[in-house]
Amino acid sequence: MAEIAATRRPTLRLRLLRARWPWGIAFLVALIWALGVAGAFDRNLVNARGFRLFSRFWAAALSPTLDPTFLAVVIDATFQTLSYAVLGIAVSIVIGVVGGLLSAEIGWRAIFPPRRNAPFALYRIPFVIVRAILVIPRAIHEVILGLFLLNIFGLHPLTAILAIGLHFGAVTAKVFSEILDETPQDTFDAIRAAGAPPLSAFFYGLLPRALPNLTAYGFYRFECAIRSSAILGVIGAGGLGYQIYLSLQSINYNELWTLFYALILLSGLTDLWSSLIRRSMGSTGTRLCVDVACGDPTGGEVPRPPVQTGFAFRLRRWSFPLFGVLSLFSLLYVRPDPRILTAPRTQTLFAEFVADLFPPRLDANMLETLLRAAEATLAMSIIAMTIAAIGGMVLAFPAARNIALPGGLGGRGGRAAQAVGIGVLLVTRTLLLVLRAIPASIWALVCLFILYPGIFPGAVALGLYTVGILGRLMSETVENLDERPLRAIKAGGATRSVVFLYGVLPSAIPQFVSYIFYRWEVCIRETVIVGLVGAGGFGRLLAEQQAAFDYRAMAATLIGIMALTFAVDLASNTFRRALNR
């Protein structure tokens, strides 16, 4: 009875919790605060004198340098960037598979089956240890890892490869273990009930069922690795990113654009390969909750059976051998000499470096600096995400095949209208590709043409870059929407706009919101990328401390970054749950 009464007249508290408008107000307050921190209200942000340089920069897009000597440099740099990404992913997959198997609950339970009526399950001990080891490399962005490794290896291929491999490996291990634990265990149990050893049951009943999801995720990480490889180049690890940075510093915009086109092409081809594979497997593979536990790991997608015919299927069958060939090529191309790992010089440098980090400088002065950096980082991420969320949502629909193309929701009958649909799709997708292919740190330097230095250009750069990523993720979400309710609304004679308003938006928005919060967590970490080129926040602090060889302060900053990351993960999780209620 009491419950019925409660549903009839919700308490004020319940009504507040359910309502959406307090979230909107909270967001506006946060945005205004962030703009305040960025100085939007007390000084001029736009540097009008930079427009001449800015337009020169864009004009150069039409006349990239094409002389053979420079093209040779570009091709070499492109292969370097590709090789770092491929080898980095290879390392991360090894770490991810081993770490994933070791940190999956199901594996340990299979090896040490909990004894009946035992008060404590033995398998939890190794399981908890492995998970704990993987927490730290996961919390540190690959750019920071790269920065540290640069100190030890210098400009060596292993700097980029290990930075990508270690960070991606730890993230992949977490996701792999989650995929394994979520895979239905009925067959595994059935095989064991027939007397099979647990490991055999695991390899027959569980792993094959998890494999499509594992592969889809692996390919998603591969396209991320190309972007990371370019970003690592900017901080000095070599490849396209490095050349781009050099050309930008020497104000040679024609060369810059040649490098941009190479990077866009490389990134575009990888994205295309990855999305074809993932689509043909019936899973986007982009796990929403990469670093945090949350309730809906698939992001509410409707699972589809894997495609068994056509180009994408054949490509999928050849993808593993193709990746093997690529790895071999990369290995031969950059020839990362593993002896550097055991070289005495490396050991001395590493020992010195670690000794220099301790004890982290955590005095009152430092704490104040860290708090200010945290404030700047948070503000930067909020402005960046506002740009990214709006841009992503606007561009996601024209970039989705089931909206823009003929036969889609927005596609119209006539031949001219169809051509317009295809054109809109291509233009939006290219725009998204360009935004995400160029490293955020380069966008930040470009923004500095017309914006005064500070948090704001960093936030805009990060926002633009994230639009490219978020727009693509969101358009994939739209393409994966359950079409049955849409068809039902259409069958009732509804116009396109009604189908869009009542069918597409309501099912897309919750997933968009999830993606935005997920990306916010990533964005906090990525502020470091733009920070390193001077945009403020933790990244800038790190760069300054490194220039001053103040490693103990760097260690303190690292602790600060991790603390903020965990806090934001926690907040994002709470918000996401509250909003999805």
Binding site: P113, R116, D186, T187, D189, A190, I191, R192, A193, A194, G195, A196, P197, L199, S200, A201, F203, Y204, G205, P208, R209, L211, P212, P305, P306, Q308
Partner: protein
């Protein structure tokens, strides 16, 4: 043969023996004080409304679940006291057919059939077989017996429902157990496929003098395919009778009398 057990078999160790068995999931009692035994060669049907405890009972018999109270003996061994290795040796002798088949869709049929051999194989052998299937003749013979030898290299998710249940049967065939348990083996099949599968199960037990314990929703099969019927309701044993003494009224009572 399938006809109330071998004469004088009462003297032998029963295949399954339950003594005052109860199973509770937290507060919920799934089985309460159940006692019976099954001897070699018997065909036992478990019947009763949904939630009567049929699946729980079958899970007890193949060692994937343990009793909260009472003791379960399989082939003379108290399952709850066995170490994992010894438990697996007993479990090899018990084959189970499931309602949901439990096939792995993206593995070939031959691997799905070989699930039944994993109890006999070492782990390295099992791993090797995933790349180059071992004991193909055995798998092929089993598939021949269930009528789909041509599907041996097909992926399991390319098969129809009836074919998938045949693969599940072939899996039990290669396991070559002393007793077969079947949990609603036909409830996701159409009438024609159901008769095929039930005929096959009975043929298995008759030709190979195996023991069969199956839960069935379709009561008409009890009269045509089984020698003994055990009625369960609300986790309690209501009757345990030769099918010759089973009347329609008893079945009616079981399902409709609360």
């Amino acid at each position: 043969m399938c006809g109330g057990g071998l004469k004088g078999s009462k003297a032998l160790t029963p295949i399954f023996q339950l003594e005052h068995v109860s199973v509770r999931y937290g507060e919920v009692a799934a089985l309460t004080d159940v006692t019976f035994s099954v001897h070699s060669g018997e065909c036992v049907a478990l019947i009763g409304p949904s939630g009567a405890g049929k699946s729980t009972l079958l899970s007890l018999l193949n060692g994937s679940l343990f009793a909260t109270d009472g003791r379960v003996f399989v082939l003379g061994q108290d399952l709850a006291t066995l170490r994992p290795e010894a438990l697996r040796r007993i479990q090899r002798q018990i084959g189970t057919v499931y309602q949901q088949f439990h096939l792995v869709g993206n593995l070939k049929v031959v691997h799905n059939v070989n699930f039944g051999r994993l109890g006999y194989w070492s782990f390295p052998k099992a791993l090797f077989s995933l790349f180059r299937p071992l004991e193909m003749e055995r798998a092929l013979a089993a598939l021949q017996q269930v009528g789909i030898p041509e599907k041996i290299h097909a992926r399991a998710d390319q098969l129809s429902g009836g074919q998938q249940q045949r693969v599940a049967l072939a899996r039990v065939l290669v396991q070559d157990p002393l007793a077969i348990l079947a949990d609603e083996p036909i409830s996701s099949l159409d009438p024609k496929r159901s008769i095929d599968v039930m005929d096959m199960l009975r043929a298995l037990t008759m030709n190979n003098t195996k023991t069969l314990v199956a839960s069935v929703h379709a009561v008409e099969y009890v009269f045509t395919h089984f020698s003994r019927a055990i009625g369960l309701r609300g986790g309690r044993l209501i009757f345990d009778t030769p099918v010759s003494a089973l009347s329609r009224e008893m079945v009616q009572d079981l399902y409709y009398n609360e």
